[in-house]
Subunit: 121 residues, 2 copies
């Protein structure tokens, strides 16, 4: 698949809430995920598909999602960007908050090799 | 200035329509601008502040802007992203269109050294 096709499939799976399938179908085994800031109790960078599944699972378990919007994709060559907005309640703190961020995805050999999230910290 | 400060200033100047001042104040002399696709009659990549001014002038002369929205910034380390939506009429074609894109900006030595625009082509 080319960038545009992978990007559209990424957005489609995210909008359907199929995050685990998205990882398994579109990501490279040694893909890397980089946050703008380290989440509480973890590193800024997660390496490898197992670590990305763990990160996704942990986020799902820590947050109640009231609404989510996935906008895009916005492609350029072998990369694409996506904008996300979330209205969530963080379970540990009980705090409800809005999240607004941009993800940047880099494709190598037909798989997502790197994802980076941009937001104010 | 750090990334967050430059990013906020960038958004502020764009929202005020001060595109030339934005280039002069925030960009490196040898900054590079990369489009997702080559605009009609030009290259995908423009190099140097003079070329970026020419590009900005050309865009301004070719389009009537009915409305514009600049969302962000979304920082990560020495980069930041911005989402733009425009409602414009292209003067040469007379065609009114909506544009929706994401800009990615890379800072080196306190100046924007690279801008890249992401959108469907």
């Amino acid at each position: 698949m080319g960038t545009e096709e992978i990007a559209k499939r990424y957005v489609e799976l995210c909008q359907a809430g199929k995050n685990e399938l998205c990882l398994d179908e579109l990501y490279a085994k040694d893909a890397v995920s980089v946050e703008a800031a380290a989440p509480p109790g973890s590193e800024r960078t997660a390496k490898g598909l197992d670590a990305l599944h763990a990160k996704s699972k942990s986020w799902g378990e820590s947050n109640v999602v009231h609404s989510a919007e996935v906008m895009g994709p916005f492609p350029n060559d072998n990369r694409f960007a996506v904008r996300f907005t979330f209205d969530v309640t963080n379970k540990p703190s009980g705090r409800r908050m809005k999240m607004d961020e941009i993800g940047l995805f880099t494709i190598e050999n037909g798989k997502i090799m790197r994802e980076e999230f941009f937001y104010s910290t």
